[in-house]
Symmetry: C2
Subunit: 178 residues, 2 copies
């Protein structure tokens, strides 16, 4: 099995055909909520970010485009997008949450480079199977799960081989990764 078999190609779903707008609008209508200009703008921006991003980064991107929205509106909109499953949030212990749009994506796990903060997605069905087995045996009903692997990516390592040791040393410091 080669590395490519694990990787998830974000570019594949770069073009969703705008279907997310339909999902969002339906979700809002169903609950008597309004499809406002701010929500429209934010939805497009979020689906235009093909990496994981923080609320702050989203705010900055909006400002860059001259299409500002307030911090409160950004957080409130992200919250609605989470509820309607168009968005997922992940905590990598960096203080702020990282978001990614998920339009019918399968579950996946993450590699997080402690140096460049790059996030790589992967999926391993056998890990999933073993998780199911563990919860079955222990009588635990799984609702969700998260597997995060922290370390140094190949690019960072080749540009500075000492990184691994330095980050390993501080890995058991204040903010937890585990």
């Amino acid at each position: 099995m080669s590395g490519e078999d694990y990787l998830i190609d974000k570019a594949q779903d770069a073009d969703t055909g705008g279907e997310e707008e339909f999902v969002f609008e339906s979700f809002l209508k169903d609950r008597g909520l309004k499809y406002t200009q701010a929500r429209k703008t934010l939805l497009r921006k979020v689906f235009g970010m093909h990496d994981h991003f923080t609320a702050e980064q989203l705010l900055d991107r909006l400002k860059d485009d001259g299409v500002a929205a307030s911090k409160a509106t950004v957080y409130r909109t992200l919250s609605v997008l989470l509820e309607c499953d168009l968005l997922a949030a992940h905590d990598f212990g960096e203080g702020a949450l990282y978001y990614e749009h998920t339009f019918g994506h399968d579950h996946h796990d993450h590699l997080f480079c402690l140096h460049c903060k790059r996030i790589t997605e992967f999926r391993d069905d056998r890990i999933e199977e073993h998780q199911d087995r563990v919860t079955d045996k222990l009588g635990f009903e799984m609702i969700t799960h998260s597997l995060k692997i922290y370390g140094i990516c190949a690019d960072c390592r080749s540009s500075d081989p000492g990184l691994v040791e330095r980050f390993a040393a501080q890995s058991r410091m204040r903010r937890p990764r585990s």
Copy 2:
């Protein structure tokens, strides 16, 4: 393989023979830090807690015993204990961090009951092997990792079977578990 094979028995290492004191004192001495009364008290309290606990819970326990320490000292001491590997911290998305003392414990993963907040430890070597395989293939140097399974434990389920559905519904709301 039965459920017991996965479980980690915390009671086994309830008595460390006070060896952690030696480790802590050595660590402090090596860096020109002082083994103060507050640190001694906190170390004992931490190693007397055989479950996961938050900073707040630790503070409360200290107050109950009439042996108060300030919030600042508690946080600062926890931080030192993390550095010398006598303690580990885990974030289950509850707002505060959960700590557990680790005196030469092997790595393990966690089940977190969303209802009663009970934390169960388990270990599955095959999951670990698959993680190594993934990082190898992707050229990623793993430093640490965390696998957390969220759901409802057997006890909670038997006392209220509707819990699973209720928690599943709110699982994609604001605070992330993934």
